[in-house]
């Protein structure tokens, strides 16, 4: 077990090692909405040693949790960008992927132990000092196979599958559409209230969307003083 898996957590909703939390979430025995991810991050930062590998593993796991939580927070009637993936599917996929990741992490652990056990096994890499030099004659080739190889490299790649990018945060475009819809209905809104229930990462992405709309001249923004509420209204209105 690695340092991340054993990270001791003491949250309002859960007490125990990190990997147990993941397991409970994936088994739906713990409601992810109740889990304070910021607290997990703080705990990790307190316990953190200078180990990039551990940091990387932690980021992967927390990103997975954030993704799952973010999906759960978007009401289903909203037009989500994950058209082909409802939250249940996402949870299922994430659970499956985390389980698979765990298996390969175990495989990596076995390889690491094996390497350690074999550390006193030395052999020569490459040719022997006085060995005859090998020759690798090649049969006559057709020039057409070169053209075929280059054509294949110039061919349009297959359409990328969305499955590779499901670990990303909600895209800015989601909030662009969402804010435009709200303005069509109401003409103006208070940004702080609109994003109040979202996580920090989602709020950050939402704020980027706000700046984007402002830059495009679609909206006007007002704020009475620093740290006061941000009011947004249709610039055409």
């Amino acid at each position: 077990m690695t340092a991340v898996a054993e990270l001791p957590l003491d949250l309002d909703s859960f007490e125990g090692p990190f990997d147990l939390l993941l397991t409970l979430v994936l088994k739906e025995e713990l409601e992810l909405a109740d889990v304070e991810i910021a607290e997990i991050v703080l705990t990790f930062l307190e316990e953190r040693r200078d180990d990039l590998e551990v940091d990387g593993e932690f980021l992967v796991l927390v990103a997975s949790l954030l993704e799952l939580k973010a999906r759960g927070l978007f009401p289903e009637e909203e037009e989500a960008p994950f058209d082909d993936l409802d939250p249940d599917d996402a949870a299922g996929e994430l659970a499956e992927r985390l389980a698979q990741y765990r298996r390969f992490r175990a495989g990596a652990g076995w390889l690491e132990e094996r390497l350690e056990r074999e550390s006193d096994r030395y052999f020569r890499l490459g040719p022997a000092p006085l060995a005859p030099v090998p020759e690798r004659p090649l049969a006559p080739q057709q020039p057409e196979c070169l053209a075929v190889a280059l054509r294949a490299l110039a061919a349009e790649p297959p359409a990328p599958s969305l499955r590779h990018i499901t670990l990303t945060f909600p895209p800015v475009s989601l909030f662009l559409e969402r804010f435009r819809a709200v303005l069509r209905r109401r003409g103006r809104f208070v940004f702080d209230k609109e994003v109040d229930t979202l996580t920090r990462v989602e709020q950050a992405v939402a704020f980027l969307a706000l700046l984007e709309l402002r830059k495009a001249g679609e909206i006007a923004i007002g704020q009475a003083a620093p740290f006061e509420e941000i009011t947004v209204w249709n610039s055409a209105a």
Partner: protein
């Protein structure tokens, strides 16, 4: 005359064994029984007999050269007792400093190969480009064609991987399900924690 007499007395397997010694000492990688038989122009069964003879001669404690069965064939390596001297002589760029990311990528390629970078990235949840490039550079994995025309390049573990990890073949890798903690184990830990919290 005496020399001719000696030759007549010589066990024919001895001569084959010497030929195999010669082949193994110059080979850049492990040689299969078939490869040895083809090079020696002899029967695979007799090659097997000769290898048995050599295995008892080139073994730990008896010789500084050890015959090992690895990577689908046979190869000479240094005796383990000489490891410290060997360490002073050569670096081991292939196995030195494999990162956790590299080991995870290697495990995925070894178990699932041929497998492409996007597939590896999907399992690990992060891009695998530099880990894959590093493993190719080390010679532990190698390209194995593309998924389809114009598709992603796929990778597989090399014989060098098997040799470095001391495996006779990929089938010697343990089943992942046996390595990963089972649901039963998780259940037990869950109950343990629940018990602690209750107390």
């Amino acid at each position: 005359m005496e020399q001719r007499g000696l030759r007549v007395l010589e066990n024919p397997v001895d001569r084959l064994a010497r030929t195999i010694e010669a082949l193994l000492v110059i080979a850049p990688a492990a040689l299969s029984v078939e490869e040895l038989a083809a090079a020696a122009e002899d029967e695979p069964e007799r090659v097997g007999t000769a290898l048995g003879l050599l295995a008892s001669r080139y073994r730990e404690g008896r010789s500084g050269i050890v015959l090992e069965q690895v990577a689908g064939g046979y190869a000479f390596r240094a005796a383990r007792e000489a490891a410290e001297a060997c360490a002073r002589l050569v670096e081991r760029p292939v196995q030195r400093g494999l990162s956790q990311a590299a080991l995870e990528t290697l495990a995925i390629v070894a178990y699932l190969g041929p497998v492409s970078r996007p597939e590896i990235a999907r399992i690990r949840g992060v891009a695998a480009d530099s880990a894959v490039a590093g493993l190719v550079e080390r010679g532990l994995i190698a390209e194995a064609g593309r998924e389809k025309e114009g598709g992603a390049i796929r990778y597989e573990a090399t014989p060098l991987f098997e040799r470095v990890f001391g495996l006779t073949g990929l089938s010697e890798l343990p089943r992942l399900d046996d390595l990963a903690e089972s649901d039963e184990g998780l259940r037990a830990r869950l109950e343990e924690v629940a018990g602690r919290r209750g107390a």
